[in-house]
Amino acid sequence: MFPNLDFVGGWRIWFAVSGALLLLSAGAIGIGRLNLGIDFQGGAQFTVVNAEHQPSDEEIAGALPSGIDREAVLVQTLDQTGYEVRTPVLSEGERRAAQDALGEVFGVQAGEVGVTNVSAAFGGQVRNQALQAVAAALIVIVVFISFRFEFGFALAAMVALVHDILMTVGFYALVGREVSLVTVVAVLTVLGYSIYDTIIIFDRIRENSPTVGYNRRRFDEMVNTSIRQVVRRSIYTSVFSLIPITALLIFGEATLADFAFALLVGIAAGTYSSIFIASPVLALYKAWRGGRLRSPRTA
């Protein structure tokens, strides 16, 4: 596949494509488009399915008990008869009153209204745990690859990973989907997936690597050959993973669909980054190190 494409030599183009998308993502995050869910900042969320009535957003907000800040109420329609209503953190009494009121306005039993109520403190804890998990995963993966391959591979894989994470979070911000605990899970999964993809290519590079001597032209050509050998697999694997994920996006309810969206972006980014980011970075790192090792002798 792609017999004439220069994966390594064309790095400026690949990096530019990613750079532009990353800039867009960073911009979206920068202007505050990232929609943090109640898992992270605390708040209450009510979920209704099979609603009898279809009230307007104003009617819904108006039905809530008077103590709740109307401005901060967010109503989301899930499908024809499904609704999600988000409010700031509620006390136990307010929560109960809101649940009864929503049951009435939607024409369902109060017990059928699903509630998630998260205090701000717990949200902070979840956020820290999530960041810790991502950091820990990154470190362990670098160590693992350095151990199984060598440091240059780990560095290249890391650049690709950071690229994928930024891309996933950025697209989340772009479309304004809600970031929840499930999103973090998705990001970590993307991390595992992207690294897997990268390793399949690196494994082939390792296999094709000559045991002695480094020559830039030869090494770059070898990387290109290695990618050509496994690129079909990379694409097939992505397709095979994206099929069930797309099914989740279409058929899954809110949580699953959010999860699927993150994976969709992440896996697509991951496939791209293993081929067009990780491999060129590896080649560039090798060239830089090769040059540095040689320069004292020429000087």
Partner: protein
């Protein structure tokens, strides 16, 4: 191959025969409805709690929920100071949350002053409280020292409105629940009068403290001519405020109500017993996160998750067949075996299925398909180099395996990190991803290989076209042309 057949047999037994298939898989509360809550404990007065105290508190919470007769609550200590409570299929979530949220802080106080209003209608209770509070705030006892006001409120039997009492107390309890022996409170008839009462066994220290406290109550009350009161509080509510007529030493206490023919009313006595036994712990609980899922919502989530899983799985099977032809057929069979074994393990462990769990499974379907793809691509490559089907299969496995191992190892690493660092919802995902990845490696390495071995040993001829390799891409053929 024999191993695989045995495993399939075991899985069939576990899923279909041991119990009806609809009951075989344990559903999490997001799929069948229920309540979950995250509680954070703090030492009363603000200090840090120990893990042991939290373990004890979680046992008490479990006991309290058990008393409601709810099916299988899952109460777990998380970290040093948090407890996760999950109760699937609950019909009265409100009551449950009240009970777990109000983990009791038991206190005993000398009553400095009190005021009582009786026969208050329900809607006037708040007014009565305000009135009592204002009166008591003017009181010397309140203004002199570090004092607070707590209330007792209970219905008067026979529909005579409500009984509201305010008490002026020292800010910190004179004695805490520590003083009571574990399960030290019992409802029993008074040995001499036969009237119902609650007996309390105190610890050695507790007996001494209680003696001092009652001594103080009696001597402070003596000048007023009124009997002194001992207030028993649960968090911010006074549960009972019995009179103390004489100092009680020796660690044996009984609370009775001799004014009624039967002694203390039965429900009041039982409540007091429960409060005393379960509240004997110096930890305050706060509900920091709470999640209630109605049964309809749960069913809808389950249905959407299953639809997504099945559709995705079916499409993967079809695509494998289209791309890899005969090899794809083998892979499909292996994938079906994979799915079945996975289900078997989920039932056997048992793993509770949740929404994130479904996501984990869907993802592992991709991983399982991938293991086959890596090996098949390798086999096709070997065939293009002109090797026979049989040697290509052997070489494909040998070379593909290392890549799969490294790749899956990283997936497992992230899954383990997720498990170690995250909350219970995320754990469901991590657990299923790990199981899914391990089973997928097993099926790709053992099952697919055995099936392919079976084909080539039986002398079934596999022309390249049947493996999805076009004739002209084979090196040997090109040379002939």
């Amino acid at each position: 191959m024999g191993l695989v057949v045995v495993l399939l047999g075991v899985a069939t037994y576990l899923i279909f025969i041991r119990q009806p298939v609809t009951e075989s898989t344990q559903l999490g509360l997001d799929l069948q409805g229920g309540v979950s809550a995250q509680l954070k404990g703090t030492q009363t007065g603000g200090g840090k709690v120990t893990r042991e105290e939290m373990e004890l508190a979680s046992n008490l919470i479990r006991q309290r929920i058990d008393r409601l007769g709810v099916a299988e609550p899952d109460v777990r200590v998380q970290g040093d100071d948090q407890i996760t409570v999950q109760i699937p299929g609950v019909e009265n979530p409100e009551e449950v949350i009240d009970i777990i949220g109000s983990t009791a802080q038991l206190g005993f106080y000398r009553v400095l002053d009190s005021e009582i209003q009786q026969g208050i209608p329900q809607d006037k209770v708040q007014d009565a409280r305000t009135e009592i509070e204002e009166d008591l705030k003017d009181d010397d006892a309140f203004q002199d020292g570090d004092a607070k006001i707590l209330f007792e409120e209970s219905p008067i039997p026979g529909g005579g409105g409500r009984y509201v009492a305010g008490y002026v107390l020292n800010k910190t309890p004179d004695m805490t629940g520590d003083a009571i022996r574990q399960d030290g409170a019992t409802v029993e008839p008074n040995p001499t009068t036969g009237k119902r009462q609650v007996s309390i066994q105190l610890t050695g220290d507790g007996g001494g403290q209680f003696g001092d406290l009652t001594q103080e109550i009696v001597s402070e009350a003596a000048p007023t001519g009124q009997p002194g009161l001992l207030a028993i509080s649960l968090d911010k509510d006074i549960i009972s405020a019995p009179q103390v007529t004489e100092p009680i030493f020796g660690g044996q206490v009984s609370i009775s109500n001799d004014g009624l023919p039967e002694g203390m009313p039965e429900d009041e006595a039982t409540q007091l017993e429960t409060v005393l036994n379960t509240g004997a712990l110096p930890v305050s609980m706060e509900v920091i996160a709470q999640n209630t899922v109605g049964p309809t919502l749960g069913t809808a989530s389950l249905r959407s998750g299953l639809t997504a899983g099945l559709v995705g799985f079916a499409l993967v099977l079809v695509l494998l067949l289209v791309i890899y032809r005969a090899l794809g057929l083998v892979a499909d069979l292996a994938m079906l075996i994979y799915a079945f074994l996975l289900w078997g393990i989920i039932v056997a462990v048992p793993v509770t299925m949740t929404l994130p769990g479904i996501a984990g499974i869907v993802l592992s379907v991709g991983v399982a398909a991938d293991a086959n793809i890596v090996i098949f691509e390798r086999i096709k490559e070997e065939i293009r180099r002109g090797k026979t089907a049989r040697t290509a299969i052997a070489a494909g496995y040998e070379k593909g395996f290392r890549a799969i191992l490294d790749g899956n190892a990283t997936t497992l690493i992230t899954a383990f990190i997720l498990f170690a660092l995250s909350s219970s919802t995320v754990r469901g995902f991590a657990v299923l991803l790990v199981i899914g990845v391990v089973v997928s490696m097993f099926t790709a390495i053992v099952v697919t290989r055995a099936l392919l071995g079976l084909l080539s040993d039986r002398g079934v001829h596999l022309p390249p076209g049947m493996m999805g390799v076009s004739k002209k891409s084979i090196v040997g053929q090109q040379r002939v042309r």
